[in-house]
Symmetry: C2
Amino acid sequence: MTGTDKTRALVLIADGTEEMEAVITIDVLVRAGIEVTIANTNPSESSAESIKCSRGVRIVPDTHLSALPLPTPADPDTSFYYDVLMIPGGGPGAQTMAASTLVHQWVHAHYSKPGVLLAAVCAGPTVLKAAGVAKGAQVTSHPSVRDQLKDYFEYRDDVKGSEIVVKDEKAQLLTSRGPGSTFELALRIVEELKGKEVMESVRGPMMFP
Amino acid sequence: MTGTDKTRALVLIADGTEEMEAVITIDVLVRAGIEVTIANTNPSESSAESIKCSRGVRIVPDTHLSALPLPTPADPDTSFYYDVLMIPGGGPGAQTMAASTLVHQWVHAHYSKPGVLLAAVCAGPTVLKAAGVAKGAQVTSHPSVRDQLKDYFEYRDDVKGSEIVVKDEKAQLLTSRGPGSTFELALRIVEELKGKEVMESVRGPMMFP
Ligand SMILES: [Cu+]
C-alpha cells in the first residue's frame, strides 16, 4: 500500500499522552502483524529517554519524530509513508502535538496521501484541527473537547455501542471517544488495513466479556 | 487498611509482560486515586532500565522488586504491605515471575495478610500456583494456561459477561481472562478497595461503548 510489503503504523506520543490509548492501539496492531513505530513528539530539545504519560506510566519511544524522514508528494520514494498515523489522547500530550509544526507536517503528508488512514481518539482530534486537515469531516472525541471541535468538524455527539468508532470515508479518518473505546478503534484500524478475518483472529484471543 | 492512609497497589512486570494488562490496570487504579508502584521482577542481575513487554512496548519500572522492603508477619510495621498485589499475564513475563523466589515471597506475604487483595489476569494465575498460595481457590485465566491450573485451583471455565472477573472470597483473590477483560478486572479492584461510587466515577469518563 505504501511501497513496502509490510503494513506500518506510526503512533505519536508526548508527555501527558493517555497511556492506555497508546498501548492498546500499539499492542492490538502488533498482534495483527502490523509494524508499529512509536514516535516521541515532545519538543526535540527535551532529551528525556522516556515519555511520562498521563497517569505516570513511562514509555520508551522508538524514535523522535524529527529523526524520521518526512514523506513529501514530490518524492518518488513512497516508502516513508505509514499506512496509518495514529494520535492518542491525554490532554497535555495532544496539546504538545497541536503546537508542533513538525506534527502538523506529518499529519498533512498522511492526510493528503490516498490509501493512508488517520486515526485519533479522545483529545487526539484536536491535533487534526490544529494541523488544519479534514475540515468538515465526521468526527467524534472525548466530550471534554467537544466544544473545541464542533464548529470545525461535522461533530458526532454521543456515539455509543457499534457506532463508537466514527469513520469519515472521504478523509480516511477514524475517531473514537476514550480509553474505554480504544480496543474498538484499534480493531477497526486492523479491519481497514488487514481485513475482517485478521481482525477477528486478533479479537478472539483477547477474551472480551 | 495497611498502616498508611493512602491506598497502594503493587504491579509486577517483567520482560514479556502483556503491556495492555499492566497499563490498563495501572492507569485505572491511578484514576481512582490509588498510589501504584510498578516493580521490575526480571532477575536482578539484568540491569536494563526498561522492561520489554510482549508486543514490544518498553516500560520504565519505578523500582526493582528487590529494592522494596519485603513485609513479614513478625514486623510490627505494617506499612510495607500494599492493598493489592497485581500480576499481569504475558506468558514469558509470568514464567519469569513463577521462577522467582523473591516473587514467591511477596505473593506469600500478601496472601497471608488479612484485608489485602491479590489480582491476576491471563497467565498471571500460574504465578500464584508457583508460589504455592490459594490452592483450591476459584480462579479463571486465559484458556491457553487452563491445563496448568485446573488441578490446583477450582478452575472456572468459560466465564463471560458480568462473570468475567472471578472472586474467591476466602483467598481475597480476583482473576480474569485476558487484555479484553482487564478493564473489568481493574474496575473491580477499584470497587473492592474504594467502593462502588469511586469505581463508577472512574468508569464513566473512560467512555465505554
Ligand atoms: Cu483521554
